[in-house]
């Protein structure tokens, strides 16, 4: 396996990403979006598209740059630092990974459209308050050449503004995945959610919604198998984003420890805080390794990535929560104010923890793969 250190290429990519994000999407941008009621920023996405980010996992033949998962993780991590809102994860990571399994003309055209910034995707997966893609209740009933969908999807990230939605449904032939235009459709009710992280998410209710046969991706019954690589790619990239978040929250805290004076001295000279900060740094180090490893495994032996991905997502979830909780506590009162940024990190960490499987879900997979 390639070494667990970042390559020169990856370092350059990170630098380029940082300079774009610091200019066009610093954390103050998210604050501004929240205050003005915007849940997405199409102009910012076009900037990322121009930098090639939308095509990071799309084959060159379909207009992408095909740099691989480790590179996608570098971008996700940098976006985690600045809490940048974009369709990157759902579209450039998950949808691209999913669609590139097919080589028909329609799919190729969609990949091209993603890479050129003309198409975004959301995934409709959850049906309860927890991620459980292997127990789906939303039904797809065969009707002539097409299907009729009935049921409810919750917490559909990017569900309001994405151009298309990939829906996991249960049919008589087993799980099916539908690729569906996210426009006004008879029987489809879309409820925008007012999320704590100020991002786009929706609940979708399907009441006798009719879809044509060509909306079905791959074979009927193979929905979950087709979805799996996209889920793993998304989970790992979300772990990378969350590491960026943990590091940024930690950097804020560590600077504050060096500035803030109480009892006539900087609070960072108190051992009670030093040891907690040092422990947190250690936690972040371990999580960085897990994310690096997941990227390498996804690029080299994607069929064996399950363990690496779940270790990364579990660790990233846990570390981010520690980082933001310690962040608020060590900042004291100012950490609780809306005027200060730590709250934004805390809210995003909470949402990222639940999306695509929480700590328990991924630790459970690890336990299972390790024989207990």
């Amino acid at each position: 396996m390639a070494k667990l250190i970042e390559t020169e290429e990856e370092n350059l990519l990170a630098e380029a990403a940082r300079s774009l994000l610091d200019k066009s999407a610093p954390l103050s941008h998210l604050r501004h979006m929240r205050d003005s009621g915007a849940r997405s920023d199409p102009a910012l996405w076009q900037e990322m598209v121009a930098a090639g980010w939308a095509g990071v996992l799309i084959p060159e033949a379909a207009g992408g740059v095909d740099m691989g998962h480790a590179a996608a993780h570098v971008l996700a991590r940098e976006m985690g630092r600045t809490l940048t809102v974009s369709p990157f994860l759902s579209t450039a990571v998950m949808a691209a990974t999913l669609l590139r399994q097919f080589d028909d003309a329609t799919t190729k055209a969609r990949l091209e459209k993603i890479a050129s910034g003309g198409l975004t995707y959301a995934f409709a997966l959850d049906e309860t308050a927890k991620f459980a893609p292997d127990s789906i209740q939303l039904t797809a009933k065969k009707r002539g050449n097409g299907y009729t969908l009935n049921g409810k999807k919750r917490f559909v990230v990017d569900g309001c503004d994405a151009d298309r939605i990939l829906i996991l449904a249960e049919s008589e032939e087993g799980p099916c995945l539908f690729d569906f235009a996210n426009t006004a459709t008879k029987g489809l009710q879309r409820d925008a959610l007012e999320m704590i992280d100020s991002r786009d998410a929706a609940d979708l209710t399907f009441d006798e919604v009719e879809v044509t046969g060509d909306a079905l991706l791959g074979a009927a019954g193979a929905g979950y198998d087709i979805l799996k690589p996209a889920l793993e790619a998304g989970q790992a990239a979300l772990a990378a984003e969350t590491v960026g978040l943990s590091q940024a929250a930690f950097d804020l805290t560590s600077s504050y420890l060096k500035e803030r004076k109480q009892f006539g001295t900087t609070i960072g000279s108190f051992q009670a805080l030093q040891h907690r900060a040092a422990h947190l740094w250690c936690e972040i180090e371990l999580t960085k390794s897990a994310v690096l490893n997941a990227g390498r495994v996804l690029d080299e032996t994607p069929k064996e990535a399950r363990l690496a991905v779940s270790v990364a997502k579990a660790r990233a979830t846990d570390t981010a929560q520690k980082s933001v909780q310690e962040g608020v506590q060590m900042h004291g009162g100012i950490g609780m104010t809306d005027a200060f940024d730590m709250g934004f990190y805390m809210k995003r960490a909470r949402v990222a923890a639940e999306w695509l499987g929480d700590y328990g879900y991924h630790a459970g997979i690890v336990a299972q793969l390790r024989g207990f």
Binding site: S289, V311, V366, A367
Partner: protein, 391 residues
């Protein structure tokens, strides 16, 4: 036929093939049981009693090929392997469950210190007997009054012209009662600042005036001793590095020791995977609290192993691990302690007797976060040297 010893093969696959053949031909069947526990270790030394003919053969065959210290130069008893080659050797040994032929403080600690700070004469004199397992070394660092504050050592070496006259006491000297020689931190200048008056000195344990007394631990074992020096005469040339700059050598070795303790962390104790312990225990699977703890420990251990891998890759890329070894030591030992707590819990009352139970290993792990620098010292190193928090 080409041998491991006389050339560096063109590709790593050829190299792996050669190593595999050599192991097949030379590793005795009894040495392929994958044992890594305290009882299976070959420590070597002049008083060593081999537990079997196979253990003796295995050591001699490996030593003849330089495989007890694969990365040391051939001139000093090693095989001159690169880190990649060393990794291949370890993988191939692991694949057949081969025991480590020889373990010692000479290999882990004194060797690296001599390779970096020793004179050519010292390297020639001391390294080959370590590689062959003929001389067993112990480490004389801590004193009753200098534990976490190691630079406060008081054990004194008085300048007698051509010799030192050593008086004082060391404590926690691992296996001093079975060692042939000791490498010790001695106070050679009482007037200088405490870090600048220490020398790194090699002392023959058979010298007149050296005595040892084992310390019994809560685990029942006595791996550590108190060591006393009563008017011991030591030749001047047995100082490694510059006189009064022994702290540089000590710091280098402590970094090395931390990496060693952390990487050995998971092999300590019972050496069995947590999953196996849990699924075979009478109670393990049914207890949701225990299962939750084990899941967390497993996630953390895997991330820790990836971190060891990442740091090794960094070191190979020329970026030393440096102060971050404090993190490896801290996290590795804490995770290992936690793991043995879970093992004890999984085995319930079946683990509460001495003998073939994890009890002794569980108790022994409690020292992991004390020896080689406590967890608290590690956290202080991280906060000062890595996070640059005001000290």
């Amino acid at each position: 036929m080409a041998t491991v010893e006389d050339h560096t093969p063109p590709t790593s696959e050829d190299f792996r093939h050669e190593i595999r053949n050599w192991l097949q031909q030379n590793c005795p069947a009894e040495m392929r049981d994958g044992a890594a526990g305290e009882d299976s270790i070959c420590w070597g030394g002049s008083t060593w009693e081999f537990t079997s003919e196979a253990q003796k053969d295995w050591l001699e065959r490996c030593a003849a090929r330089g495989l007890t210290v694969p990365t040391w130069p051939k001139a000093y008893g090693g095989a001159g392997f690169s880190r990649d080659q060393d990794k291949i050797l370890k993988e191939e040994m692991q694949a057949i469950g081969a025991r480590v032929p020889l373990q010692s403080f000479g290999i882990w600690m004194l060797g690296p210190a001599l390779l970096k700070f020793g004179s050519e004469e010292q390297k020639q004199q001391y390294l080959p007997p370590i590689a062959r397992g003929e001389i067993r070394w112990c480490q004389g660092y801590s004193e009753p009054g200098a534990g976490s504050d190691l630079a406060g050592v008081q054990c004194h070496a008085a300048d007698q012209g051509d010799t030192w006259l050593v008086n004082g006491q060391k404590i926690w000297t691992s296996y001093a009662d079975r060692a042939d020689w000791i490498f010790a931190l001695l106070r050679t200048d009482r007037e200088a600042k405490k870090h600048l008056g220490i020398s790194f000195v090699l002392i023959d344990m058979r010298s007149e005036g050296v005595s040892t007394r084992p310390i019994q631990l809560i685990s029942g074992a006595s791996p550590f001793c108190e060591t006393f020096f009563d008017n011991v005469t030591v030749p001047k040339q047995q100082v490694v590095g510059t006189i009064n700059r022994g702290w540089d050598v000590a710091k280098y070795l402590l970094t090395h020791e931390r990496e060693m303790i952390s990487s050995g962390g998971n092999a300590m104790g019972t050496g069995r995977a947590l999953g196996a312990v849990l699924s075979e225990s009478e109670t393990g699977q049914g207890d949701p609290v225990l299962r939750g703890g084990a899941m967390r420990a497993e996630v953390d251990s895997l991330a820790f192993e990836m971190t060891l891998e990442r740091y090794k890759d960094q070191a190979e890329g020329g970026q030393g691990v440096g102060d971050a070894s404090a993190m490896l030591k801290y996290m590795g030992t804490e995770l290992n302690k936690q793991r043995l707590e879970l093992v004890m819990e999984a085995e319930g009352s079946a683990a509460l007797t001495w003998g073939e139970t994890p009890a002794s290993a569980w108790l022994r792990t409690k020292a992991n976060s004390i020896e080689g620098g406590t967890s608290e010292v590690m956290l202080s190193i991280i906060s000062r040297r890595i996070l640059n928090l005001p000290g």
